[in-house]
C-alpha cells in the first residue's frame, strides 16, 4: 500500500464557523435552515460536536440523548407526531444500521417527517475497525416504503439537499460522505428523484453517489483525455426515489454502466441500476466499483479506498475493462 494521502476525518472536535461549511456542511446547513423554521429541532446520540453552531444559536431546540440511538429515533418520531421536524445527527453505523426497526416502525410506517443525518458513512471511520463501518445502510434504508434516501456528492450538494428536506412530509435519510472531492461550485438544484447529468458521452455510463460522484467526474475526464472514451456521468444523489428514466435512457444509449459507491455491492446503487435495467429489458453490461461481499480490511480510509479500487485510477481501470469487454 502507498502512504495515506488523507488523514482520518475528525468530527469529534468543535468546529469554528469559518471552516464549518467545508468540514461540516450538514451542521452548517441545519443551522441555516433552522433560522427560519421553529419546527426544526436537532437530536444526537453523543455527537454534539457536529452541532456546535446549532447549539449556540438554538440551545432550546437541541436535544442530547446520550449513547442511545434507538431511543433517539422513537423519541424523534414522537416529536414529529406533534408537528416538529426533528433532525437526528448520528454516526452512520449506529444510525440506520442500529435503529433500522425503530426507523421502519415509528418513522417510516407512520409517514413522519423524521430526518436521520448519517455522518461518517462508508469506510470513513476505517481506522476504528469494522464495527464503525456503514456499508450496508443504503441497502436497508431504500427498502422502507416512505423513506427518501439522499447521498450528497460534496459540501454544496449537502447544502442544497439538506435544504430540500425541510418541507418533505415523510422520513429522510441523508448519508454524508466525509472529505468527498468537490463536484459543484455552487449548491446544485436537484429536483426530487432526479440525477444531475454531469458529463455527456455514449461509450459508457458512470453513476456514483456521495464520494463516488467526484470519482466518476474525475475518471471521466481521464478517460476522455487519455483514452478518447466519452462517459455519460450521473450524480445519483437520490437513491430513493431514484431516476428510473435516466437509468433506462443512459443504459440504452451506452449499453455499459459502471456504478461507483462506498457501499457493499449488495443492495446499493449497483442493485438499483441492475433492477432497473432488468425491469426495462435493456441489454447492458454492468459493473460495480464498490466494496466486496466479504469481511473488509481495517485501516486509514484513504488506504482502504485505494485497496478496494475506490480511487480515480481504480474507476478508470474498471471503466476500461467494461469498455474493452
Amino acid at each position: 500500500m502507498t502512504t495515506p494521502t488523507r488523514k482520518m476525518v475528525d468530527v469529534f472536535s468543535d468546529i469554528d464557523r469559518d471552516t464549518a461549511l467545508k468540514a461540516n456542511p450538514s451542521g452548517y446547513a441545519i443551522t441555516e435552515i433552522a433560522a427560519g423554521d421553529d419546527r426544526i429541532v436537532t437530536l444526537t446520540a453523543d455527537l454534539s460536536n457536529v452541532l456546535a453552531e446549532f447549539r449556540g444559536a438554538f440551545p432550546d431546540r437541541y436535544i442530547e440523548l446520550g449513547i442511545a440511538e434507538t431511543n433517539s429515533v422513537s423519541l424523534a418520531a414522537g416529536l414529529a407526531s406533534c408537528g416538529y421536524v426533528p433532525y437526528i445527527f448520528s454516526m452512520s453505523p449506529f444510525g440506520m444500521l442500529k435503529t433500522a426497526e425503530q426507523w421502519r416502525t415509528d418513522a417510516d410506517y407512520n409517514h413522519l417527517p423524521v430526518r436521520l443525518v448519517g455522518r461518517l458513512s462508508g469506510l470513513a471511520m476505517g481506522y476504528f475497525g469494522t464495527s464503525h463501518y456503514a456499508v450496508e445502510d443504503i441497502a436497508i434504508a431504500r427498502t422502507f416504503a416512505n423513506t427518501t434516501v439522499l447521498s450528497p456528492a460534496d459540501s454544496n450538494a449537502v447544502l442544497s439537499l439538506m435544504r430540500s428536506t425541510v418541507d418533505n412530509d415523510g422520513p429522510v435519510y441523508v448519508r454524508i460522505a466525509e472529505a468527498a472531492d468537490r463536484v459543484y461550485d455552487v449548491p446544485p438544484d436537484i429536483p426530487r428523484g432526479t440525477w444531475p447529468r454531469l458529463r455527456e458521452g455514449s461509450d459508457l455510463t458512470l453513476a456514483g453517489h456521495g464520494m463516488g460522484v467526484g470519482l466518476a467526474v474525475q475518471a471521466a475526464d481521464v478517460l476522455a483525455a487519455e483514452h478518447g472514451i466519452r462517459a455519460d456521468v450521473y450524480d445519483s444523489a437520490y437513491l430513493k426515489p431514484y431516476d428510473e428514466a435516466a437509468i433506462a435512457d443512459t443504459a440504452s444509449r451506452t449499453g455499459k454502466v459502471l456504478t461507483i459507491e462506498d457501499h457493499t455491492v449488495n443492495g446499493g446503487l449497483g442493485a438499483i441500476v441492475a433492477e432497473t435495467v432488468g425491469r426495462h429489458k435493456i441489454q447492458a453490461d454492468l459493473a460495480q466499483a464498490a466494496l466486496p461481499d466479504v469481511d473488509l480490511e481495517v485501516g486509514v480510509p484513504a488506504e482502504l479506498y485505494e485497496y478496494y479500487g475506490l480511487t480515480v485510477a481504480g474507476v478508470v481501470a474498471r471503466a476500461l475493462e467494461l469498455v474493452k469487454g
Binding site: L65, N71, S74, L79, S81, Y109, N110
Partner: protein
C-alpha cells in the same frame, strides 16, 4: 384552553361502579371482536380493562370530534396487542362509527390487532413493536414542553415489555429532561408470551428500579377502581419535574375464572362457541349484579 362542548375534560364525574361496569363491557366487546377475527389476546386485554376504562371515562382530556386537537391528553398503547380493548371505547366515545367494529380483522379495515395512527382516529401513536412507545411518549412529552402546552402523555406498557433495553433508555431520558407530564403505567400482570415474566428475565423490583432512575413511583392494585381514580386524580401538575410511573399490579385474565386459572393458555387464542358462551355469561352475570349501582349505560 377555550371552552368547547366537544371537549371531555379531565376528572369527569363517574361512579366506581360505572367504571367497573365499563371494564366488563370492554371485556365483552373484546371477546366479540376476537371471535370475529378468529384469534386474539384475551388475558392481556382483561388485565388492563379497569385501567383503560378509568383513563377514557374519567381521567383523560379528549376531544373525539377533533382527534388531532393539540391540547388533548395522549394515550399510547405500548402493549399494542390489546387493541381489541381500545377499539370499542373509541367507537363509544365517537371517534368513529361503531359500524367500523364490524370490519375488525378484515383486509382494509382501519382497526387492526395492533393500533395504527395512520388509519384509526383517536390513536395517538402506532404500536406493536414492544419497547418503542415509552420513547415515543417521551418525545411527545418533550414536544409539550417545547410548545408550552399542558397536555399529559400516558403510556401503557406490559411488564414483559420492560425487558426491552430501549425502555430503560426512555426511562433515563424522561428523568433527564424532567418530564413530569409523562406517566408510564405498567400493566404488571406477571406474564409474558411464554410464561411468568420474571422467569424469562427478572424485572423486579420494579418500584425500586424506576425510583432509582428518578421517577415518582405509585404501586397500586390495577383492578381497584377507587385507587386507580385517586391515583390519576392526584398526579403532580404537568409542570412538575419528575415523570410518574404507576405500577399497576394486575391479574392476567382478570374477570373470567377460566382465564385467571390458565392465563398463559389464553394469552393468544380463540374460544370455542361453548367456551365463549360461558365467558360471556360469567361477565354478564357480574354486570347485572352490579347494574343497579352503575350510572349511565354501557352501550
Amino acid at each position: 384552553m377555550p371552552e368547547d362542548s366537544g371537549t371531555l375534560e379531565r376528572g369527569r364525574p363517574v361512579t366506581d361502579a360505572g367504571i367497573r361496569r365499563r371494564a366488563d363491557w370492554i371485556r365483552l366487546q373484546a371477546v366479540e371482536l376476537i371471535a370475529q377475527a378468529g384469534l386474539g389476546h384475551y388475558s392481556s386485554t382483561f388485565s388492563c380493562a379497569e385501567i383503560v376504562a378509568t383513563l377514557y371515562y374519567h381521567t383523560l382530556r379528549l376531544r373525539p370530534g377533533e382527534p388531532r386537537w393539540p391540547d388533548r391528553d395522549r394515550f399510547l398503547l405500548g402493549k399494542g396487542h390489546v387493541a381489541t380493548g381500545l377499539w370499542p371505547v373509541l367507537a363509544d366515545l365517537g371517534y368513529y362509527d361503531k359500524g367500523l367494529l364490524k370490519q375488525f380483522g378484515k383486509v382494509g379495515s382501519p382497526l387492526n390487532d395492533h393500533p395504527n395512527m395512520k388509519l384509526a382516529p383517536g390513536i395517538d401513536f402506532s404500536s406493536g413493536s414492544l419497547g418503542h412507545n415509552l420513547s415515543v411518549g417521551a418525545g411527545i412529552a418533550l414536544a409539550a414542553r417545547l410548545s408550552r402546552r399542558d397536555y399529559r402523555t400516558f403510556v401503557l406498557t406490559g411488564d414483559g415489555e420492560l425487558q426491552e433495553g430501549q425502555v430503560w433508555e426512555a426511562v433515563m431520558a424522561a428523568s433527564h429532561y424532567k418530564l413530569g407530564n409523562l406517566v408510564a403505567i405498567v400493566d404488571a400482570n406477571g406474564f409474558s408470551g411464554s410464561g411468568p415474566t420474571s422467569d424469562a428475565m427478572n424485572i423486579e423490583p420494579l418500584a425500586t428500579r424506576f425510583a432509582a432512575f428518578g421517577w415518582l413511583v405509585r404501586e397500586i392494585d390495577g383492578h381497584d377502581v377507587p385507587t386507580l381514580r385517586q391515583t390519576f386524580d392526584t398526579l403532580p401538575d404537568t409542570g412538575s419535574k419528575q415523570p410518574v410511573c404507576v405500577i399497576a399490579r394486575t391479574r392476567k385474565g382478570h374477570g373470567v375464572d377460566m382465564f385467571e386459572k390458565q392465563p398463559q393458555a389464553w394469552h393468544l387464542g380463540l374460544l370455542s362457541p361453548e367456551q365463549q358462551a360461558d365467558v360471556v355469561a360469567e361477565i354478564t352475570a357480574r354486570m347485572e349484579l352490579a347494574g343497579s349501582e352503575a350510572e349511565g349505560s354501557a352501550s
